[in-house]
């Protein structure tokens, strides 16, 4: 007899929980996501850092402090098993004023308390040796070698693919409308796609975790959105070798300057608290972007000219009441587990959150978990043409000519890569084809020209593979269709 588990939210947290729970013979795991694909909420737009675990005060935020360092260590393993793009390049928290060293000392001490290895404060000379183009007035830095960067949506995709391979069922475009509770016990989840029976409901709904909790009858916290905006620059612009932070203030870790894993210089985020009902407001603003620019300049004075910007974006972090992660089995409703308020360092902590939830299921819900005899920890990364060695190209092209056809010029993404992405979309159950689904799997459309050449080619490939006309292909799910019909649709008077 299997215990049925419904996880609400297909972001990095829900996906990580699903992967961990997929190890157990006696669980039947369902992952429920309202968007057309996984990872499109909070996981989509963030700094993509694997933090060091030094900035969360274990007295104030014990969950964050505990899970961040644990998550960091787990990511070292997960990126290998799942072939997730990553770099372990370390962070420098830069001191610009003498007083900053007091804060760096505090961080060092806290880091040591949290179990962060190999941290130390370095002087000016060593800082400039590591990072020659940092603000020439910098005085030194805190050096945290275990910090890294990953592709955050590629990570969600990788984890979900692996979870599905291990038996997890994914329900996309499935919005939770209600949670059925009988005699204080959860019985399942009501959705726009019908009822999903469940003995355990895990709320990993990101920005909407407070609303999901409320639906289950538990109402002691709120989530409000905190917006962060970013700039990304064209390739070929020299960025830092490490993740550069300013010395933090009580409210923020500050604007980061980094070379993100695709090699583009990226700056951001700022932190702007939005009203509670602005949970879908990921618009960029002039003021926010300006703020980021000014602050980034403080540690990285040589920002490129504005016309070298290829994208600006904004993401939202779910800020919970109290500030710490809320991860617990709720006693009032048996079988309901909140995993809420997973703000920064949520991406870092996600694998550790997965294990935390497993422990809660065993310890608090009293379910004895039985490991599968054959659980597959591995997942193969999609073919990336741009990563192929010259001798591999011809072998691959001989087998499948689509790999010889470059679709995205800027990032050298082949038609073969795109077709593989579409196959994998179908594997996890993507029903509505979107350019974004291909983009997050292949990196097509993310280069200098932002897709002005390849988007149309990708649309046509999606249309062909999904058997629909090209105008029904979407940019990012239902409501974002590429067109309104064939080119004569208005003249025939048929468009709504």
């Amino acid at each position: 007899m299997k215990t049925k588990v419904a996880i609400i939210g297909g972001g990095i947290v829900g996906a990580s929980i699903a992967r961990v729970l997929s190890k157990y013979e006696n669980l039947e795991v369902h992952l429920i996501e309202k968007e057309a694909d996984v990872g499109w909420g909070v996981s989509k737009a963030n700094t993509a850092l694997i933090h060091g675990g030094y900035d969360d005060d274990p007295d104030k935020y014990p969950m964050r402090a505990k899970l961040c360092i644990k998550g960091n260590r787990l990511w070292h393993q997960w990126v290998k098993e799942l072939e997730i793009p990553h770099i372990w390049n370390g962070a420098l928290i830069v001191a610009l004023k003498d007083e900053d060293f007091d804060e760096l000392e505090r961080l060092l001490e806290r880091g040591q308390r949290n179990g962060v290895p190999e941290m130390r404060i370095i002087d000016r000379e060593e800082l400039f040796h590591l990072e020659p183009n940092v603000n020439p007035n910098a005085l030194g830095a805190l050096w945290v070698p275990i910090v890294g960067q990953i592709g955050s949506i590629p990570a969600v995709i990788a984890i979900v693919e692996n979870a599905v391979a291990n038996g997890v069922k994914v329900h996309l475009e499935t919005e939770v409308r209600g949670i059925k509770v009988e005699n204080g016990e959860v019985k399942g989840v009501e959705t726009n796609n019908g009822f999903i029976e469940a003995d355990i409901v895990i709320n990993a709904a990101g920005l909407y975790a407070d609303e999901i909790s409320k639906i289950a009858g538990i109402d002691y916290f709120e989530i409000h959105p905190r917006k962060g905006e970013y700039w990304i620059f064209d390739e070929g612009i020299p960025g830092p070798n490490h993740v550069l932070f300013p010395t933090p203030t009580p409210i923020s870790k500050g604007v980061v300057v980094t070379t993100e894993i695709s090699g583009h210089l990226m700056i951001g985020p700022n932190a702007q608290d939005l009203p509670k009902d602005y949970k879908d407001d990921t618009s960029t603003t002039r003021e926010g972007l300006e703020e980021v620019w000014q602050k980034a300049q403080e540690i990285w004075p040589n920002l490129p000219p504005r016309w070298k910007v290829i994208r600006t974006f904004a993401g939202l972090r779910p800020e919970p009441t109290g500030g710490d992660f809320i991860i617990k089995a709720e006693e009032e409703v048996q079988g309901f587990i909140n995993v809420a308020g997973i703000r920064s360092p949520g991406l870092t902590s996600a694998p550790a959150i997965g294990y935390e939830v497993r422990d809660i299921i065993e310890r608090d819900l009293g379910i004895k978990l039985k490991e599968k005899e054959k659980w597959n920890p591995y997942r193969k990364e999609i073919t990336h043409f741009f990563m192929l060695q010259p001798n591999q190209i011809n072998e691959l092209v001989k087998k499948n000519p689509a790999y010889g056809r470059i679709v995205c010029r800027c990032n050298k993404v082949s038609e073969g890569d795109v077709l593989e992405a579409i196959e994998r979309m179908k594997f996890i159950g993507v029903k509505t084809p979107s350019v974004d689904s291909v983009k997050f799997r292949t990196k097509a459309t993310t280069g200098t020209c932002q897709g002005s050449f390849c988007k149309v080619v990708i649309i046509n490939l999606l249309a062909r593979e999904y058997g629909i006309p090209p105008w029904k292909v979407t940019l990012k799910g239902k409501g974002s269709e590429i067109g309104i019909g064939d080119v004569k649709v208005l003249l025939r008077g048929e468009a709504q």
Partner: protein
Amino acid sequence: MNSTMLQYDVVVIGGGPAGLAAAVKAREYGLNVLLLDENDYLGGILPQCIHPGFGIHYFREELTGPEFSHRFVQRVKDLKIDYFVKARVLEIKNYSDLEKIVVFTSPEGAFEVWTKAIIYATGARERHAFEIGIVGDRVAGIYTAGEAQTLMDIYGVMPGKEVVIVGSGDVGLIMARRFALEGAKVKAVIELMPYPGGLARNVMILRDFNIPLYLSHKVVEVRGKKRVEKVKVVKVDENLREIPGTEFWIECDTIIISAGLIPQVKLLTDIGVEIDPATGGPVVNDLLETTVPGIFVAGNSLLINDLVDYVAEQGELAAYGAKLFIENGGIPAEKWIKLEKGNNIRLAVPHYLSGKRDVYIYVRVKKPMENVVLNFPEIDKKIRLPVVRPAEMLRIRLRKEEIAKAKDKITIEVIQQ
């Protein structure tokens, strides 16, 4: 790379009008030519330019884009020029003046081509919404003009029904007409500068279709949930600074960005070709040879042209350059005369003149002026013009005798009459 090795005199990269003209001309000179293009078909951007206005200078008749390209593609086939479509050049290697390798991949495999000369004609790309500083929501319904043109005229897709066009360059204006002809409502064309960006004949489209043009205005923000719902427009002063309090919103479901083109020169900059910041394309001599000997450039990857006729002309000149280069084992060393930019000149190409041959120089002004003289003080040449506009590229012939009069430079300037 385990790849098939090929050998040619000239490799032409890019099968648009510049590359086609170059390949045909080079073949006519008796050179062994390979033409590479990454699209499914030859012709570059022309097959989607279904409006007329092509070829008036070159063929002395008015053609559409597909008709213009068809004539060249037919020549390529008649002359049995080797070509690959769906072929993407990954790298150019420059071993010595007459030994270069072009590495490309295609569905037929990966190839390395030994060649003596390269004609680079990869065209331009369009500036997109992020480059022009538009903020707000990143939603469906935002297209570059070329993207919308590909969707409508190659794939038969109607992008939307209420359209705001950002930028009054030729592509934007032509797309305004295209949308109007298919029954869409074009609600406005928004132009940052105080004058239209396109050729006069294309600006007429706005009157023909009753489309409002907002000069000295700027789109600053896009809002929408899944798809564009409205755009925020603001007026700018003579220094292009936004004037507070002049903001207004236009409701629409589609935004077309037509904010200028940028030459695509990535493969050239990778091997150290010098770029002119004014054109965005390479620095060239009067045979359109770049600063790397034996690499020639033509068309929109050299500079952004108004007319396809000039593009074809540049392709043919580059082919002539490649022929001389191969015959002589390099372009014979010259005492190059530099073309200098004087008053109100934004760009001037080519950058260096030999004085051994007549040349066409291509010039754009910075701002419109009336009743002017185009002056070349060092060679005592003056051309009277009723009007000059940034949107209209000037093409001026300098005779070799005229050029020879200069010592080391020829300045070109616009002066009020």
